[in-house]
């Protein structure tokens, strides 16, 4: 298997990644083994070269630390002023991210990538600032020391003894487009140190002296070189993959590392990452939640979450399993995922615990089969004194104490009754029963009390010498001890069972909440309803107030509904929410970004991109979200995002359908019109052509006929064009109905006059009601209606047929009737004739638009038009037009006698 074509999906993903990459800025990291090797210097030199090439360069943050030679390089570069944040009486200067974003240079210099920003800055860490700059398409040059890499942090500590707190995730280094290793042999570096050219902050002098020992420097240099080589290797692999050159790929190796709240997990995680990188394997960080009597404290939960986050940031997969037997769970999972290597920490607890409780490590090793197990040392530095808080349970209810005492009393009573008839062993059972019941109903402390009291009572009442706590026979001591142990075990088990039940209930509650949300979301089709549902569910579960923000057409967020359960946002909060939307990252309370915000803001991300933002404000202002909860909230947010996406897609699909439909109709219309226009034109051209060619030779009557035909067809063409224009305008909505007080008689008269030639052979009878004299309508449009109806009548009847036009009042309307004595209309056509393009039986003239124009105009006036058959034969078209409100009053004279004396 040599050259293998990369499959199309991966290629597509790569293209998409490339496109995405093209939009992002390019990151170049100047990497060094130790401070003082000259990274900042190298960065500035490279920047100057770029500037000479004409690029737009801006200095975001560059620390010269007073070094002259570095300072000189800054000359000529545009330096952005920094923002100052007051902190503990000092003013800390940090990168002004907003100015940088709005300035939009091609390249910006940001020194010391691992720096932690002052509180008040948008992001906690400078590398997050750089990430945002890259996202905005701005390229960045930056500097990093090897000790700042997360995965190498503990090795560096081991080597140098210096604890470096500011770290950047390895994923960020991997994401850099270029890494330049600024290398300086240790001797040269020491020389520079002696010359005072290396900056050391005052507080760190002592530590730094220890740091700058030759052995350390050599080791650090090797680390840096090796890390750089790793990256080059990765690049080569990636290149080969692109080109389809695929070496014999071993089955993907997988590494599993067991993590827990114990701080030594950090070391394990980093070790796992290094091993995985070396083997080019995937790695999984697994945590087993054992619902035992050891209940994790808040501190533990926090540490665990941190460790899992660390693992994720280093590129590992994180999985949480539940089960009683840690080793069993891990081994099963490892086998199911084809894990080849397991990493565990060396035990640090005393051996007797293993003897008593079993050693998970031992069991893993024994059960590992063909999986390799690596046992790694924990931190050499003593971990901070950290206690697994034994219990953080609900406080004991006062009633529980009564239960425990009462159970003992009851047991004593029963035992007393049984005493004459039964052996002591049986009486012990009664007490055990009492303890078991107490354990089932109360918590640890009362159960313990119950146990002690049971032993005491048993001793006092039933063991000779009676009514004392002394024991006659030493054998009874054994009885007591065993009784105590049994009671303790029973109570322990009972408590465990209860806790398991509680855990299961809690999980069930979570799942139910999520299910409830998705079920309700699935039913809705309206965005504002979705928003309300999300708010309701989130508020119910997380006890706070929620707000759902959706973007408008320009991408600015707006609140959809301000129903109950939402909270008002001020200017700053809006800014944060908008940032969350633009950057697709959570921010606000409980996160690393913009932590001073009032509420927590989560982006709603669907497969087609961000659809909005959810803001959650907990009721209890001082409470913060436990890390597990934020994760769960994100699940809620994503569910909601999917629902919104679904609605968006549905709308789009609908729009597409409408578009396709109207496109189709347009095409039909155009082809029909085209045909209707061409036909009379063909006749005209033909007839005219004949006349031209024939000239004098054609007999006079024939010539006359041709000329008349040309004239008629030209008029017909005129009609068609007029109709087409009208219907197009009406449908495009560009026709305004100008209603004026008009007289129907006027319009009818005008139309009859205009059509007088065509109407010549037809007797026309009119009957126009005198009341109301004026009704509101648009004269030009109604003229069209009458013209079309009359022409329609002419078309469908023989000359000599009587045509009637009449109007009369009908309550709030005027009814107009135009009827003929022609063939009439078939019943099934009565509706259809008002559609576009339909033709009656034998018309063949006109694009069939006349009646649909009538309908459009009449309906635009608020009226109705319909067709019927006249009793006695013929078609009758009826129109109802609203008469409007009061016609205008007249204040002039009406009737007066003699001529007046005007003019």
């Amino acid at each position: 298997m040599d050259n293998q074509r990369p499959d199309p999906d991966t290629l597509l993903m790569r293209v998409e990644k490339e496109e995405e990459g093209a939009r992002q800025g390019k990151l170049k990291i100047f990497f060094g083994a130790a401070p003082g090797v000259g990274k900042t210097y190298a960065m500035l030199e490279a920047a100057r070269r770029k500037q000479e090439e004409g690029e737009d360069i801006v200095v975001g943050v560059v620390e010269t630390h007073g070094r002259q030679e570095t300072g000189k390089l800054l000359a000529g570069l545009e330096i952005l002023p920094r923002t100052s944040y007051p902190y503990r009486g000092k003013k800390l200067l940090e990168l002004d991210l907003d100015t940088a974003l709005s300035r939009r240079p091609a390249l910006i210099l940001v020194d010391e990538l691992a720096h932690t920003n002052a509180p008040g800055a948008r992001h906690k860490k400078r590398w997050q600032d750089v990430k945002e700059l890259l996202g905005a398409g701005i390229s960045v040059f930056t500097t990093v020391n090897v000790q700042h890499l997360e995965s190498l942090n503990d090795i560096v500590h081991q080597i140098t003894g210096v604890n470096v707190h500011e770290t950047i995730p390895d994923s960020f280094l991997d994401r850099a487009d270029e890494i330049e290793l600024v290398d300086l042999p240790p001797d040269d570096l020491l020389q520079r140190l002696r010359e005072g050219k290396v900056y050391i902050p005052a507080q760190a002098e002592k530590a730094m002296t220890h740091f700058f020992q030759k052995g350390n420097l050599i080791a650090l240099r090797e680390l840096a070189l090796r890390r750089t080589a790793e990256r080059v290797d990765e690049q080569m692999e990636s290149y080969r993959r692109d080109m389809g050159v695929r070496a014999i790929w071993p089955a993907t190796e997988r590494i599993l590392v067991c993590v827990g709240p114990n701080p030594r997990s950090v070391r394990l995680i980093r070790a796992a990452r290094r091993m995985a990188a070396g083997l080019r394997a995937d790695w999984i960080a697994v945590n087993v939640e054992a619902p035992t009597h050891v209940r994790p404290s808040e501190e533990d939960k926090r540490l665990l979450a941190e460790h899992l986050r660390l693992a994720a940031s280093l590129g590992g997969e994180t999985v949480t399993l539940t089960g009683n037997q840690v080793s069993e769970e891990i081994l099963n999972y490892a086998r199911s995922r084809n894990v080849g290597k397991i990493i565990v920490g060396k035990p640090t607890h005393p051996r007797w615990k293993d003897k008593l409780f079993g050693s998970p490590l031992d069991e893993i090793i024994r059960g590992s089969g063909d999986i390799d197990v690596y046992v790694i040392t924990g931190d050499t530095a003593a971990p901070e004194k950290h206690r697994t808080e034994w219990v953080k349970e609900t406080p004991v209810k006062p009633g529980d104490w009564f239960w425990s005492i009462g159970a003992v009393v009851a047991a004593t009573g029963i035992a007393a009754l049984m005493f004459p008839f039964f052996d002591l062993t049986n009486l012990v059972m009664i007490y055990l029963l009492g303890v078991a019941i107490t354990a089932a109903r109360t918590s640890r402390m009362p159960s313990l009390l119950s146990t002690l009291l049971s032993v005491a009572a048993f001793d006092f009442f039933f063991v000779p010498p009676y009514f004392t706590l002394a024991v006659a026979d030493v054998k009874y001591l054994v009885t007591f001890i065993v009784m105590f142990v049994v009671a303790a075990v029973i109570s322990g088990l009972a408590l465990q069972v209860r806790k398991q039940a509680e855990d299961a209930r809690r999980r069930e509650k979570n799942t139910a909440a999520l299910y409830g949300l998705s079920r309700d979301l699935a039913r809705e089709r309206k965005k504002d309803k979705l928003s309300d549902i999300a708010v309701k569910h989130i508020n119910e579960f997380f006890l706070g107030q929620t707000v759902v923000l959706l973007p408008d057409l320009q991408g600015r967020l707006k609140v959809l509904s301000t129903a109950q359960g939402t909270f008002a946002m001020d200017q700053k909060e809006w800014g944060i929410a908008q940032w969350v939307f633009d950057n697709r990252q959570s921010a606000g309370m409980g996160t690393d970004t913009l932590t001073a915000a009032k509420a927590l803001y989560l982006p709603m991300i669907s497969s087609s991109g961000p659809v909005g933002v959810i803001g959650v404000l907990p009721h209890d202002r001082d409470a913060s979200f436990p890390p597990g909860e934020i994760h769960f909230l994100e699940t809620f947010a994503n569910q909601t995002a999917m629902a919104f996406e679904r609605i968006n897609l549905a709308h789009e699909a609908y729009r597409e359908r409408l578009n396709a439909e109207s496109q189709r109709m347009r095409n039909t219309f155009l082809s029909s019109v085209s045909h209707d226009l061409r036909t009379p034109l063909a006749t005209i051209t033909g007839a005219a052509g004949t006349l031209i060619r024939g000239g004098e030779e054609i007999p006079a009557e024939k010539r006359e006929l041709l000329i008349v035909t040309i004239h008629e067809e030209a008029e017909r063409l005129n009609n068609i064009i007029r109709n087409v224009l009208n219907i197009t305008r009406l449908e495009a909505g560009t026709v305004k109905v100008n209603k004026e007080w008009q007289s129907l008689e006027d319009i009818v008269g005008a139309v009859l006059d205009r059509l007088s030639d065509k109407l010549n052979p037809y007797p026309v009878q009119t009957s126009i009601a005198p009341e109301p004299p004026l009704i509101p309508f648009d004269p030009i449009l109604m003229e069209q209606v009458f013209t079309n109806l009359l022409e329609n009548a002419i078309q469908h009847t023989h000359p000599g047929t009587v045509i009637d036009i009449s109007t009369h009042r009908r309550q709030a309307f005027v009814q107009i009737e135009i009827s003929d004595r022609g063939p009439g209309i078939k019943d099934d056509e009565k509706e259809r004739i008002f559609d576009k393009f339909t033709r009656g039986k034998d018309s063949g003239k006109g694009a069939g638009l006349g009646l649909s124009i009538c309908k459009a105009i009449v309906e635009a006036h608020g009226g109705r038009i319909w067709a019927d058959n006249r009793p006695g034969g013929g078609a009758i078209f009826r129109i109802l037009l609203p008469t409007g409100e009061e016609p205008p009053q007249f204040t002039d004279d009406r009737q007066s006698s003699a001529a007046n004396n005007d003019d």
Partner: protein, 235 residues
């Protein structure tokens, strides 16, 4: 009435249209002057002093309204506008600006010739300086001096407004009058926006003088524009 040697100035940019009009009008013994741009037309009007001006509203180098405005600064000849646009608004503006009548393309030849005849008649009446003392059209006769109206030789009774309305229409017989013009003439400048008055009175007038009010032969409504007393001076 047509006289020989009546000069018609045609300002029209379309070649085919000019050809058709030339043939038609010369066949009717009119003398035709042709201009294809507004500028040329104005110049020719100044030099030749035509009897009638046929003006196309869609000229390339100047708006029809502006041409009318310029002409009316010194020229009293009737202007008939030819408009391809169906926009009533443009026609009203032209009429109010000083045009006398209009034709909408495509128009019939009969209509064209009738309009020309009407225009010439009015020109003559104006030039003579005299007011006509009476007017006759078919069975309708109006005696302006005595303020009497006769239908079929029987006097009919009109209110002062109706009479005035009829008078204005017949004094411009054959020519279109916009609503505005009619309102101004009959009711005065204060009522120029209230065309419903006009309609009501027209209806009444029609009742009185038309044998079939719904199918009038005299008082013709031009929807959106105004009214016309239908009258052809004849050859």
């Amino acid at each position: 009435m047509k006289r020989n040697e009546d000069i018609i100035l045609l300002i029209e940019d379309e070649v085919q249209m000019r050809r058709f009009l030339r043939i038609t009008l010369e066949n009717e013994q009119y003398r035709l002057l042709e201009a294809d741009t507004a500028k040329t037309g104005l110049a020719m009007a100044a030099s030749w002093n035509p009897d009638i001006v046929l003006l196309d509203l869609g000229l390339p180098d100047m708006e029809g309204i502006d041409v009318i405005g310029r002409l009316r600064e010194w020229c009293k000849a009737p202007i008939i506008i030819i408009s391809a646009r169906e926009r009533e608004h443009d026609k009203i503006r032209a009429l109010d600006a000083g045009a006398d009548d209009y034709l909408t393309k495509p128009f019939g030849v009969g209509e064209l010739l009738a309009r020309i005849r009407v225009a010439i008649r009015h020109k003559l009446v104006q030039e003579s300086g005299q007011r006509e003392s009476e007017f006759t059209a078919e069975n309708l006769r109006i005696d302006y001096s005595r303020r009497q109206v006769f239908l079929d030789h029987a006097e009919i009774h009109l209110t002062p407004i109706e009479y005035r309305l009829l008078t204005v229409l017949t004094q411009h017989a054959g020519k279109v009058l916009t609503h505005r013009q009619l309102l101004k003439e009959v009711w005065g400048p204060s009522r120029v926006e209230q065309s419903q008055y006009l309609r009501v009175y027209m209806t009444q007038l029609r009742q009185k003088i038309e044998p079939h009010p719904a199918r009038p032969k005299f008082l013709i409504n031009e929807p959106g524009i105004g009214y016309r007393f239908k009258y052809d001076p004849g050859r």
